[in-house]
């Protein structure tokens, strides 16, 4: 790598051969009470004009910090402690705040991660686009407005002129992200940094946005630096790939080549855990043409294959949970005394057999979480009937409700929010036992240890507090808590969506093991079709409150009947890319 850098330095006369961006031996640290903590340790990245480069890695790998240090946007106590960031031969780390301000926006655009919080809700869209245009001296006077309209048109928003007067809350997530991309590209920068630009969006919207971004940057010859955790996205959208781990680059080069033939053990591990791909393999294993070698002996896949084999033997029995034409209507107050009815769930029916996993898939707003909450009796049913083990769950009260709660347990999406920060892990896991007055203090303690062991955490974890644990560890604690009362059903609402791929694989593996061990029934709510493929037996696809397709996982994935399902499957980034597994 160093050799390469020295050589390119000597070629600086020839501008076409000079990289647009060259990061050399970059070191970034964060000042804490315990001294400097390094976040980026000697990173080298080279990006040529017109190229697209993706930095992938799990959370904490330093990928976002690297990108932020390019345009001096490091948060709080972060600072560049060494190395160079050469942009068109200029070292950005040496620039004064005023000079870097000129680079930002005009030469290097930035698209932030979260479209929901990155537009100011008190100003209309037009003001915010015009602000960016004025700040970068793209246009003056009356031209500013014309340019703003043009920017929004380029970003793919229809009726751009009218939309200028609208406020962010009148825009959907996808539209807001288009505005942010428009702002990022408004000054025709030479480089666009896009930090997880679509990870908060639904897959179909993600696909549109990425297609559009690709067209725009190709037209202007803009280089793009993607930050992403999604290997499929990197394979599909980026020519160059940089894999980061613990603040270092472990592998870099042409993305297709790396993903087809990963060399570093970490990249290999990452590639083999990417779920969208593993799912296809399991399918082939299921249909009998299993080649176990391709799994690298990973326990995840092995267990899943066993499970799959078991599933086929299971004889059909009576449904444990039966949802019969259930609807949920919310009343939304309009102006004055008028109410509008919102039908969040519309005439939904399905059944779940004991010991199986049923997944409900849908995009945001499809009503999938509302179904889960109604089954958990956290929301009331407007019409229809939900039966659990032959008993209507609506209107359960007192001891009956408590009994039902013992048998149906939830695991929620946000591993940061679902554990009380004031309670240590031991108390958290013991809470359901205490609430249902199970056993003596000593027996409860023993059960806590047993549960920690089941979710593969050491016994000493019980003294720790949630803030000291990673997302995956917290989610394992949440699973342990849900299992404390030996329930029959776990309702997992986006339970692995917030986790890094490796950790996600680990939790899914754990869930599968627990299912075969304890005979659990899972209801899995998710937007991620790839995860569905990994663990579900049956799938219900929801759209706008209705179930539009319900079938076994194989049927849905191999022969989707509805065009919407086909669209969802096609939108998975890198879904057809052949990843190299050992």
């Amino acid at each position: 790598m160093t050799l390469l850098l020295n050589e390119t330095e000597g070629q600086q006369v020839d501008s076409s051969n000079t990289p647009l961006l060259q990061i050399r031996n970059l070191e970034v640290g964060f000042r804490t009470q315990r001294g400097m903590v390094p976040a980026v340790r000697g990173v080298d990245i080279t990006l040529y004009a017109g190229q697209t480069l993706a930095i992938v890695g799990e959370s904490g790998s330093g990928k976002t910090t690297t990108a932020q240090s390019i345009i001096d946007l490091l948060p709080g106590t972060g600072q560049v402690t060494g190395g160079q960031i050469l942009f068109e031969g200029r070292d950005l780390t040496k620039l004064s705040p005023k000079e870097i301000q000129d680079v930002r926006g005009r030469l290097i655009g930035y698209v932030p991660q979260d479209p929901m919080s990155n537009l100011n809700p008190v100003w209309n869209i037009g003001f915010q686009v015009e602000e960016a245009i004025r700040a970068n001296n793209v246009a003056q006077g009356k031209d500013v407005r014309l340019r703003a309209i043009q920017v929004l048109q380029e970003a793919g928003l229809s009726d751009a002129a009218d939309r200028l007067k609208q406020y962010p809350h009148q825009f959907s997530g996808g539209m807001r992200q288009r505005v942010l991309i428009g702002i990022g590209l408004s000054a025709r920068p030479k480089l666009l940094i896009a930090d997880e630009p679509t990870s908060a969006l639904d897959v179909t919207v993600q696909r549109q946005i990425l297609d559009h971004l690709g067209t725009l940057t190709r037209d202007y010859g803009t280089s793009v630096l993607f930050i992403t955790h999604d290997l499929g996205l990197a394979a599909e959208r980026a020519e160059q790939l940089v894999v980061m781990y613990k603040g270092k680059v472990v592998e870099s080069g042409p993305s297709q080549e790396i993903l087809a033939n990963p060399k570093h053990p970490y990249t290999q591990r990452l590639v083999s855990a990417a779920p969208s791909l593993a799912s296809r393999r399991i399918q082939s294993a299921k249909s009998g043409s299993a080649d176990t070698a391709i799994f690298g002996g990973g326990s995840l896949d092995a267990t899943l294959i066993e499970r799959a084999a078991e599933r086929e033997e299971a004889a059909p029995t009576k449904d444990l949970i039966s949802v019969q034409s259930v609807s949920k209507t919310y009343r939304i107050r309009q102006q004055g005394l008028k109410y509008n009815e919102l039908r969040a769930v519309d005439d939904v029916s399905f059944g779940i057999q004991r010991g199986t996993t049923t997944a409900i898939v849908g995009e945001s707003g499809s009503g999938k979480s509302t179904v889960a909450k109604m089954i958990l009796q956290l929301e009331s049913v407007t019409s229809g009937r939900i039966e659990f083990d032959g008993q209507d769950v609506a209107g359960l009260k007192g001891a009956e409700l408590l009994k039902f709660r013992r048998r149906v347990q939830p695991v929620f999406q946000d591993p940061y929010g679902s554990l009380d920060p004031q309670y240590n892990v031991g108390n958290t896991i013991a809470e359901p036992l205490l609430a249902h007055r199970v056993g003596t203090a000593k027996e409860r303690q023993a059960r806590v240890l047993e549960l920690l062991d089941q979710v593969s955490l050491p016994a000493s974890t019980r003294y720790r507090y949630p803030s000291e644990l990673s997302g995956g560890q917290r989610q394992r604690i949440a699973v342990a808590r849900a299992l404390a009362l030996k329930p029959d059903v776990l309702v997992l609402d986006e339970a692995v969506s917030a986790l890094d791929v490796l950790v996600q694989g680990q939790v899914l593996n754990l869930l599968t093991e627990l299912q075969s061990e304890l005979g659990l029934t899972y209801l899995f709510i998710t937007h991620d079709l790839a995860v569905v493929r990994l663990i579900a037996d049956n799938v219900c696809v929801m759209k706008k409150g209705k179930i539009i397709e319900a079938a076994t996982t194989d049927e849905v994935f191999d022969a989707p009947k509805q065009s919407y399902t086909q669209e969802l499957l096609a939108a998975i980034p890198g879904g057809n890319f052949e990843f190299g597994r050992q």
């Binding site: 160059q240 042409p254 956290l378 940061y416 679902s418 995956g472």
Partner: protein, 315 residues
């Protein structure tokens, strides 16, 4: 890199030994388990202002509890012959207009002032927390009712309301002054508590506990209140100082503690008559008051920094 084609980049692989791969999501056992309160304590411990303010507060509390340890001269032993006398041996701060020892009066006056402050803070915090928590947690009619009542009290300035109430009370002791002050001050704490409870009530861990079958009231006690109490503690610490000031204000106006009870407010009030001839007797009780109030404000500041959830990053 031998490839001269300028766009090609080689496939680089870092030496394996450079970044040894840890097992996925291993628990870091190197550090001790820490609760939020332990973290807050850690953050406070590092601040010099925490140690200064708590040392002063401890000193003030000891003085209030055992004034006899600090002053040998009786504060009520006054000789008119010594009226407005300057400092002399055994009387470091001189004498008041009545010829009483100033130092001794400050030491003995601490008791009433501190008692009003502590009592009022306790009363306000307990009522405010209970009312605010119930209103925020159960909502509905109870919330509307309690909030409107609170608004009514909120609209009346504390000191003004206290003047009216104190003037009709048959007896004026530190306890009644504290009671009157807290009648007008609880809505502030109740509001803060209600707001904190409202946000804690909608958190995922509350929903998780509900689904686990924990009863509603138990969730309030075990999860909601502990997670909402931090801002109340901050405000309570700061308001302790303001209650002491309020007592001094009332006593200064002649409707706080009666003249027979020694307090800083009374002393300041009496000293104003000789402000031109002998300003130091106004200065010393005022200084004692300022130092006490400042210590509590300083402590409140440190506590706020330590408990502020936004300041502490997720690890």
């Amino acid at each position: 890199m031998q490839n001269r084609n300028h766009r090609s980049q080689e496939h680089y692989v870092a030496p394996f030994e450079e970044t040894p791969i840890a097992s996925v999501d291993r628990l870091d056992d190197s550090q001790k388990a820490r609760s939020t309160w332990a973290d807050a304590w850690d953050a406070m411990r590092r601040r010099p202002s925490f140690w200064i303010s708590s040392a002063l507060i401890v000193l003030i509390l000891i003085v209030a509890a055992f004034p006899g340890l600090f002053a040998q001269v009786s504060p009520t032993h006054c000789l008119l012959a010594l009226s407005n006398g300057g400092p002399e041996a055994g009387h470091p701060l001189g004498f008041t207009r009545q010829g009483c020892d100033v130092y001794s009066r400050i030491i003995f006056g601490a008791q009433a002032s501190v008692m009003v402050g502590v009592l009022a803070t306790l009363l306000v915090t307990i009522t405010g927390v209970i009312i605010g928590a119930l209103a925020g947690y159960y909502g509905g009619f109870l919330d509307t009712f309690v909030s409107r009542i609170g608004d009514i009290f909120f609209a009346i300035p504390t000191v003004l309301g206290a003047i009216v109430l104190m003037s009709v009370l048959p007896e004026r002791t530190p306890a009644t002054v504290a009671l009157v002050l807290s009648i007008f001050a609880w809505p502030q704490i109740a509001r803060i508590m209600r707001g904190a409870v409202l946000s804690a009530r909608n958190s995922d861990y509350v929903m998780a506990s509900t689904a686990l079958g924990v009863s509603k009231f138990r969730i309030l006690i075990r999860h909601v209140v502990p997670n909402s109490i931090a801002p109340v503690i901050v405000v309570a610490t700061i308001s302790l100082g303001t209650f002491i000031v309020a007592e001094a204000t009332l006593s200064f106006l002649g409707i706080g503690l009666p003249g027979s009870v020694m307090s800083w407010g009374n002393d300041i009030s009496q000293a104003q008559t000789s402000i031109r001839t002998n300003p130091q007797i106004l200065l010393f009780p005022s200084a004692a008051l300022s130092i006490t109030v400042l210590s509590f404000l300083m402590l409140g500041d440190v506590v706020r920094d330590a408990l502020d959830p936004a300041a502490r990053a997720r690890r």
